[in-house]
Symmetry: C2
Subunit: 382 residues, 2 copies
């Protein structure tokens, strides 16, 4: 048995002088309580939702490498506005990484914990860019036999977000969806899920290359916002599907308002008389990302039955309740190599994750490019 009493952990710290510092620290592995297990982390994705915490709003074009090869330290400057927004975390050395997968190497005394010994599990709960994590059995999702940690590393954020979108659609009385930034890892996963579940989906992307990606996995409706016919294409697709709910990862700019306007025009096509307050169909856009960090702007040319709001997975799961959430997790595990499969462009160690060339690559958040951290890669076992 290896010594796992301590292990490396990636940390993000914003200092009072406005500098971000990324580094590795050695942390003790807590001994597992009765209902807990120790997981040797083998794979943890760098999701867009991780980068916000990791970079803390710093301007990563100012990043500088420091420290030693064994203990790399990266520093970068926060613009003044970002520093104000991050005031509440200044001085706190924060671990990062929402999800991952690994092998259970030690367990507490409970039967549920002991049953997991030697098993490959997907785990959720933060601090996943760590060599070892002590976690409750409730935070572990047992993967089907033969599933590798790399295959199981992204069981929660993207799969549950995709399922959360279709489930929100059902709970709020809609029957079809619009999705933006739709060629992303998540977008492709949502398209596969919608095909499997028979849900009409309108994909919005921003290049012909992205249209091709989605058509390649079987998408019916793909609208290219860089095309001169975009608004007309969107109206036709929304009319054909009857979509009245959109999930928007872009956030800034006019796209959310354009989607609502397209929904309103589509709804009014079937209206029999003029209504000065617009269609009575409720049209909703949930913004769940901020790929465009600029202001959101819209013209309210869509009547009075509309809403724009924030959407986040965790509050959705809380509202859905533990049973519904568990059912979703089990579906993910059973389809993790098909509907919910993720693909990675690069696997890096904890130390490599702090090299400027890799930061530049995964920090770009380019479509289809996704990094995986392998926290025990390249580290001599004790």
């Amino acid at each position: 048995m290896t010594d796992h009493s301590t292990g490396l952990q990636l940390r993000s710290l914003i200092k009072p002088d406005g500098n971000l510092e990324l580094s590795l620290v050695s942390v003790e592995t807590p001994a597992p309580g009765p209902g807990e297990v120790v997981v040797r982390m083998e794979a943890a994705p760098l999701n867009p939702s991780d980068m916000g915490l990791l970079f803390g709003g710093a301007d990563m074009t100012t990043a500088k490498a420091g420290g030693t090869p064994d203990n790399p330290v990266v520093t970068a400057q926060l613009p003044p506005a970002a520093l104000r927004a991050m005031a509440a975390r200044v001085g706190q050395s924060l671990p990062v990484g929402n999800e991952g997968a690994g092998v259970v190497i030690e367990t507490g005394s409970s039967a549920a914990a002991q049953a997991l010994l030697g098993k490959t599990v997907a785990v959720l709960g933060g601090s996943m860019y760590s060599q070892y994590r002590t976690l409750g059995t409730g935070q572990c999702l047992l993967l089907p036999a033969g599933t590798t940690p790399e295959q199981g590393a992204s069981c929660f954020v993207n799969p549950l977000t995709a399922l959360g979108m279709t489930e929100t659609m059902r709970r709020e009385g809609h029957t079809a969806l619009v999705h933006t930034a739709a060629a992303s890892n998540l977008g492709q996963m949502l398209q596969k899920l919608c095909i499997k579940d028979g849900i009409p989906l309108v994909n919005i992307v921003r290049s012909q290359q992205q249209v091709d990606i989605l058509k390649g996995i079987g998408a019916t409706y793909v609208c290219d916002s860089s095309s001169t016919t975009f608004m007309g294409d969107l109206i036709e697709a929304v009319a054909a599907t009857g979509a009245t709910l959109a999930f928007d990862a872009v956030g800034g700019g006019r796209l959310a308002g354009q989607i609502l306007a397209a929904m309103e025009i589509a709804a009014n096509r079937t209206a029999s008389e003029y209504s000065r307050y617009g269609s009575t169909t409720h049209k909703q856009v949930y913004i769940y990302g901020g790929l465009d960090p600029g202001p959101t702007e819209f013209n309210r040319a869509f009547g009075t039955a509309w809403g724009i709001g924030g959407w986040l997975l965790t509050p959705f799961l809380q509202k859905a309740g533990p049973e519904a959430a568990q059912a979703m997790r089990e579906r993910v595990a059973s389809e993790i190599t098909t509907t919910f499969a993720s693909h990675y462009t690069k696997v890096v160690s904890l130390r490599e994750a702090l090299q400027l060339e890799h930061i530049a690559a995964y920090g770009r958040r380019a479509t289809g490019e996704k990094y995986l951290i392998s926290p025990n890669k390249g580290i001599a076992r004790g």
Copy 2:
């Protein structure tokens, strides 16, 4: 008994050439069915919500008077964008006027209808800028003895909107309100209602004069958006009241986003640790008007638990159900000369309502200025 078989009615027509035409037409008064009554209309307010239908987006600075003194006709041009938005009503001669009050002069055979004969009633249902209206008894609200039609003319739109706001607050789990354009007739009414019901209210106005108006009727929190200290004042008022719901009549510009940002800052004051997703308190702004017709713009600097949406009285009442709606109406009737009293700066006849000087005055929608149409004023009885 006067001849009320026909009567004048104000009409708004958008022609295919992009001209708005306002005129009076003579219409037959339908004979009342068993459950119906004929109301001689004595008073009908020109609410902001009426002006949208009346003017149809026309540029009223281009208005020209025509016709004859007995049959005045006003024309004005629609800008091309307005004409596109109004495509569905082009060619339809539309009656106007959401609400009013009058005296029941003829009834159908039912007991409920006959009980109203000679009574003063407040009425809702469109086409109120008419001499006579045939309406179901369900559209009539019997006013307390001694109430004049002028006192009862505005029983629905503003009073039910004010009650709809406080009721929405309760139903959606909030405990205090923010209101914009708060020195309006509706705003003053909402302040009186909130004082009576013990609801903390943050009023947002745009001048010191409007601050004085609200302070004069007992307001505690009034924030002047023209002040250099506005944002700080708003944060303090929101923190003091715990308001997490706003009703916004302005619509365009940055105000809705500023309100959400103030709510987020106030919520984070009591947070014990940094949350990268912002406060978990849901913050909501409902836009119910468009005093600023420009685009809405916001920076999403308020976490993920937020919503902006349209709000309209009629769907709210439908959702609340007939019993709740009736209870609200009866409360309005019983407090129509106190909490829900309206004041008018000018009473005009149907013909006077089509004179350019009056159109310029009521079309301005200036704070505190409100016109009342008296549809039978200045018309020889047959």
